[in-house]
């Protein structure tokens, strides 16, 4: 009898494991504040049953999904609810608007803006240009744009750091991402400082393209796939040299490790295990006794850790927080894990601004109550949203570690390892 039975799940995304328990709906940040959204169960497994019969059952409301994956984390049956929804969107492509193309092409727009950073920053802050963005481009006028740095990280690295890196005996490659390159090179510099102190040389990839998170969210799948393939190629050649590829963004990491295969069909099976978040890389080295860190005695700060959605999905917050807890002068408050509402480019769109802020409200209140000097999180878009909405500065855990690090002592500790 048994050999005639289907023993294993044969559907994509564990679709057929759905028990209809509705637990996912409890944790969807959108359905809680926007009643026009049908919610994860309906948009995901329930709707999929109809869509499998006839694609015309596709519902435009699926675009309201943030792709935060909190439904997947909550589902006790392992259904990839968010992936089902994103796949359905991919099968019903729409032509992206100019605004969406602009928001999605973080690297192209980034390089244009960096060239003229003071003007861009000034212009993005101006009432007039915000009004144009709001009405013509439908980018919400309440948004503050992340400032563009006057010197790209890559430029800084080539001028100031690259030449020194070969003197180390161990090496990593760094996927810095658009945000470090165009908006916040300091984070990249912080990583180089830590890795060098631990005896690791840092290298850029042969060719780095935006990971594609924003392209996926804005329906530009072909471009995302092309960029993904370029990134995988570059990483393969770094891995061939025996290097791990580290990042400082949870979202870039999640996209390249998981969304590439789940959504874009970009083959990453030989790269995935060698691509990791810098905090995880450091923690594992420490845990295995391969490196040591020393911290300054005079470092004192009270900060709150915010678990970004994709960090929650990866299950890796433990690495960042365990590292942070090693800093003697750091008073770390754990915030309840919940969505900040920005979800990449989602919150920038005028039609989403209100939903986006409503979603974040509960987190913003928790931050206010925590009474901290700074918030720390592994995601850069959360940083924009939290800084804009609460006025509390937001730091990547890597920046906190770099700041608290006793560089001389750390170099000494790792000299002969």
């Amino acid at each position: 009898m048994a050999d005639q039975m289907q023993l294993n799940n044969i559907s994509e995304n564990n679709f057929e494991q759905c028990l209809k328990c509705s637990i996912c709906t409890v944790y969807c940040p959108v359905s809680a504040v926007n009643p026009a959204y049908p919610g994860p169960k309906q948009s995901g497994p329930d709707g999929e049953r109809y869509r499998l019969k006839d694609p015309k059952f596709f519902n435009e409301a699926l675009k309201m999904c943030l792709n935060c994956k909190r439904c997947e984390v909550a589902c006790p049956s392992g259904v990839n609810v968010g992936d089902i929804i994103q796949k359905a969107r991919m099968n019903n492509p729409h032509k992206p608007k100019l605004r969406d193309m602009m928001l999605a092409n973080t690297d192209f727009v980034g390089s244009m803006a960096t060239m003229v950073a003071p003007i861009t920053n000034f212009a993005l802050g101006l009432g007039v240009s915000k009004a144009v963005l709001h009405s013509v481009m439908k980018i919400d006028k309440h948004r503050t744009f992340p400032a563009y740095a006057s010197q790209k990280f890559e430029t800084w690295f080539k001028k100031n750091a690259a030449a020194d890196q070969d003197k180390y005996s161990k090496h990593v490659s760094y996927f810095h991402g658009c945000y470090v390159n165009y908006n916040f090179p300091q984070l990249g510099k912080d990583l180089v400082k830590i890795m060098n102190a631990c005896g690791y040389g840092v290298h850029l990839l042969d060719k780095e393209k935006c990971c594609g998170t924003a392209l996926i969210a804005n329906g530009m799948y072909d471009q995302a796939k092309r960029q993904g393939e370029t990134n995988m190629e570059s990483m393969r050649s770094a891995i061939a040299k025996g290097r791990t590829v580290v990042t400082t963004s949870s979202t870039c990491t999640f996209t390249m490790r998981d969304e590439y295969t789940h959504l874009l069909e970009v083959d990453n099976h030989d790269v995935r295990d060698h691509l990791t978040l810098a905090t995880r890389f450091l923690f594992q080295l420490l845990d295995d006794g391969k490196i040591k860190l020393a911290f300054r005695d005079d470092y004192k700060k009270r900060v709150a850790y915010h678990t970004a959605c994709h960090m929650e999905r990866m299950g890796w917050a433990i690495y960042s927080t365990s590292l942070l807890k090693m800093i003697p002068g750091l008073d770390l408050v754990m915030l309840e894990s919940q969505c900040c509402g920005i979800s990449g480019t989602y919150g920038f769109k005028r039609e989403n601004y209100e939903t986006s802020q409503k979603i974040g409200d509960s987190l913003f209140n928790a931050i206010a109550e925590a009474d901290v000097e700074a918030v720390t999180t592994d995601c850069e878009t959360c940083k924009w949203q939290i800084e804009m909405s609460t006025g509390t500065p937001v730091l990547n855990p890597i920046s906190i570690i770099a700041d608290a690090l006793d560089v001389e002592k750390t170099i000494e500790l790792n000299k002969n390892r």
Partner: protein, 412 residues
Amino acid sequence: MKFNTVIMGGGLSGLTCGIALAKAGQKVAVVATGQSSLHFGSGSLDLLGYDAQGAVVTNPVEAIKALPESHPYNKVGDVAAAAAQAQTLLAEAGIKVNGRATANHNRLTPIGAVKPAWLTLDEYLTFDGDKLQCKKVALMNIIGYLDFPTKFIAEGLRKMDVEVEVKPITLHELNEARKSPTEMRATNIAKVLGNEELVMHLAAEINSKAGDADMVLLPAVLGIKNDALAQLLKEQVRVPMHFVATIPPSVPGTRMQALLRKRFEALGGTFLNGDRAVKGTFAGSMLKSIETEKLEGTKLEAENFVLATGSFMGRGLVSDYEKVYEPVLGLDVDYIADRTQWTRDNVFEAQPYMEFGVKTDAQLHTVKDGKVLANVYAVGQVLSGNNKVKLASGEGVDMLTAITVANNIIKK
């Protein structure tokens, strides 16, 4: 990563055990696979509702003594003491419950049936015997909310000799929420009603519709984070008001899950949300470490391990066409070898598979390939010998076995 104890499972049993251990100063990690069955909770906890013959139990502590030897309560030792410890643990987590282990009270189910219960959240309807302390009930429901079948509930209430009037109520904000009928769920309504101002509006609406009723009953759609808003509403309604459980997802269950997790983390516990233990490394009869799906390359090492992965639904147990097995560590499972004996055709009969579960010794140590594992315990629904549906004993087994194991570990 090193811990004193690693617990697999983040529901009621896993968190109870985690809190008890963390409170005793242990460094504890909980690996939670998705959200737990607390989300189907009724706002009440069962200790023992019915005996093995199906008769209603009035004094659970007494009736437990008559359970068959295979029942996990026989490994708890002092049931009354463990029950008291459980109640304290809930209170310290901010979960206010009423009830006694020596005297069940009654509650109303979402379909209007009367059932015995051990503990019930403070704002929820309970009664002794089959008498409500009122003459006329205004049974209110929010327009468009479908998980509260008022017709059945009214019928159930009328059997207790009270007059019942069903009253639809609404607010502008609740009408808005109806735009997506599938999302008009108790938990989403609780989020919509998540501030004091709206609760005041709701109180005004209830007061205006209560007429001459001397008791108001409302579906459990308030207070997803804690009981503050539910208590506020109670104060503002001019006659005694109580909540009645709804069809899941459950607001009181979601709240309990959140408060227990919060308490565990406040005690220094590490909660790995949405991860899954996938395998263990043994040295003789000792488990050295486990690995999880997401923390690839990182072993969770500990002196003791607790399996709190639940029954079939939580995938603590898995069945295929030939066998029932424990998927993480491959522990020995008590089950009937003959596949045809797993179920009975009449769904309302006690189903034999409900009693399947991992084998344990008197201290709740698990067994693998016939050998007792000295540092691996099991708690809650993954244990064999308990039919929680037939006995109405789910939460009691979860909490009491968890507390017993925590005490056994601390005593070591």
